[in-house]
Symmetry: C2
DNA sequence: TTGAAAGCGCTAACAA
DNA sequence: TTGTTAGCGCTTTCAA
């Protein structure tokens, strides 16, 4: 009993021989495909259980031209900046994958170096790929389309042929912005990150939509794009403050954290002097005082959904081109408006 | 030319036939094993290049009983708290793995649920496993030993049979502590995290060694173990301050960040009123003012080394039971002592 | 309901 | 230096 030592693996042939039946029958019993007698099946199961037989995924793979692996291609830098998100997302992926007997092969993609992704695709190490964080112009998507490898993206992209799973950022951001505008916080600004990331595009879109509905102009004051570095964010904050902005919205919590730190540093009180909100909250902001108004998503469900859809695709099913997941608006003290 | 579509794969047989030679010869040309004529090899390479032939890793795997995958078993929660470390470590693993034609299958281990690890081992999805962060009593190690699967651990453990790759925490922590004591910071305290983690044990050990050398007693004031939550760390800081401690040392930067935040909150100035140092610095503390004295390790090299050793082991080589990597002491403003 | 046999694409003796 | 021949452990027709 217990753990089977790696060297002494029992094969389907051994099982067949021991039971005096054919390999085919054993195979059928295990896979559940094809008819098989109740009693035979039970005998097989009993023996397998007893002798701790584990099918060889490699052999099965060769016979079916499958690896039972899925690739998870994350941008290497995202793991540094956007950690909690990808981590939770991946945990959703792993859970669903395991439930369907797949494993997850990671491949980090650095900038535009997609050699690791090419490796796992060309070497047929995976049956499909999940792409994390889409770019406006994404080499990975082009490569995967050309390769014929099934894939889905976590995030959005403009290509309608690509299976996408995303939270509804446009609606979410529009809603949060509208709420702020409803509070009469018209002197508002958005500090957004790298605009080559689709997610920042969509977040800005939602923000702009809300402003437009309130007939507010989009100016260089109300929207600060590509604020990537600490310095740029700090500068944007400074500018906003001196322009008499009432509310600073950040496209993600990394930016928000920098902004809040900067405000603290400059002795500007939240929300008394300036309100602050974020379009995405991981756990990064949890310990901040005051608590920050933000949008909340569920990265784990996102990953799980992406994985499920990919597996469906791998197994030949038709899947919806675009799956939208929800969000939550979480209003906190950072945007509290005092009554005059 | 360009990318080969996934469905229409060329096999070694096709190459052989097209070239009028045997599969064996093609195999030899590709693998580089066995003698082969210069000219034949060139012809094979040319054809392969031209027709974009990619060997099937699955078939190769079956023939050699190998997967060319290595497992990377990280504690799921570590990814949340200790992100930058594992991320960089993994990036080292991935790089070396790719260089040796292996890929990385991740399996998250939650608490003592090692089912994901069991999956990849039992289903033979990997040829070996790298374990991240060892525990004092680690189910994963027991399981892997019993399974016969080659593995190495990133970190230390007491079992001499286990291949370990670690930074020399004991020496590092002893050295940093000694430097602090040399500065006459005798009223010192260490706030350490979860003591079921071997790394915290070793860090404490180094700290204690230094204190012992200076004939300083280890008391409940000089050492605070298992400070896991924000509350516990904050409490430890409070206690230290009211006990008139001059220097707070933290076992890692997560704890350090909480400690520094707490000190800020209470209006206690660093380093004027209290010095602060950390036994590990990821990038978490980089934006803090003042800069924090800390130990610095190189997680990427750690991961790369672990991966190289594992591959050596997989390929049958003898490897050193324990590989120690270096560290750097980085003295910053947070422990600056004013001259009276 | 079960089995025989071929085959997935590659490697590795053993021969030539 | 090259080729022949068996496998690796499983799936999958096709027959029985």
């Amino acid at each position: 009993m217990g753990v089977q030592n790696i060297q002494s693996r029992i094969t389907i042939g051994d099982v067949a021989e021991a039971l005096g039946i054919s390999k085919t029958t054993v195979s059928r019993a295990i896979s559940g495909k094809g008819r098989i007698g109740e009693e035979t099946r039970n005998r097989v199961f009993a023996y397998i259980e007893e002798n701790n037989y584990k099918p060889s995924t490699i052999a099965k793979g060769l016979a079916q031209s499958k690896t039972y692996n899925i690739g998870w291609a994350v941008p290497g830098d995202a793991l540094m900046t956007d950690m909690p998100f990808f981590q939770r997302c991946m945990s959703g992926v792993g859970e669903i994958a395991a439930a369907h007997d797949y494993d997850v092969v990671v491949s980090m993609v650095y900038q535009d170096d997609i050699s690791q992704l090419k490796r796992i695709v060309n070497n047929q190490k995976v049956d499909g790929v999940i792409l994390g964080r889409t770019l406006m112009s994404d080499d990975r998507i082009d490569f995967l389309k050309e390769s014929g490898m099934p894939f889905v993206v976590v995030g959005s992209c403009t290509d309608p042929e690509v299976t996408q799973i995303d939270n509804d950022h446009i609606r979410a951001c529009k809603e949060l912005t509208s709420i702020l505008l409803m509070k009469d916080l018209n002197r508002i600004t958005l500090i957004a990150g790298d605009m080559t990331h689709v997610v920042n595009q969509t977040r800005c879109q939602g923000y702009k939509d809300a402003l437009r509905e309130y007939n507010l102009p989009i100016t260089s004051v109300s929207l600060h794009e590509n604020a990537d570095s600490v310095e740029e964010v700090a500068y944007a904050v400074e500018e906003a403050v001196s322009a008499g902005i009432e509310c600073i919205v950040c496209s993600d919590d990394r930016i928000c954290r920098i902004a809040v730190d900067k405000l603290h540093e400059d002795g500007i009180r939240i929300p008394d002097q300036v309100k602050v909100a974020s379009f995405y909250n991981s756990a990064m902001l949890d310990q901040y005082q005051p608590p920050i108004t933000s949008l909340e998503y569920d990265p784990k469900t996102l990953g799980a959904t992406a994985c499920k859809l990919l597996i469906d695709k791998i197994e030949g099913a038709e899947v919806a081109p675009k799956t939208m997941l929800g969000y939550q608006v979480s209003l906190k003290a950072s945007t509290q408006v005092e009554f005059a």
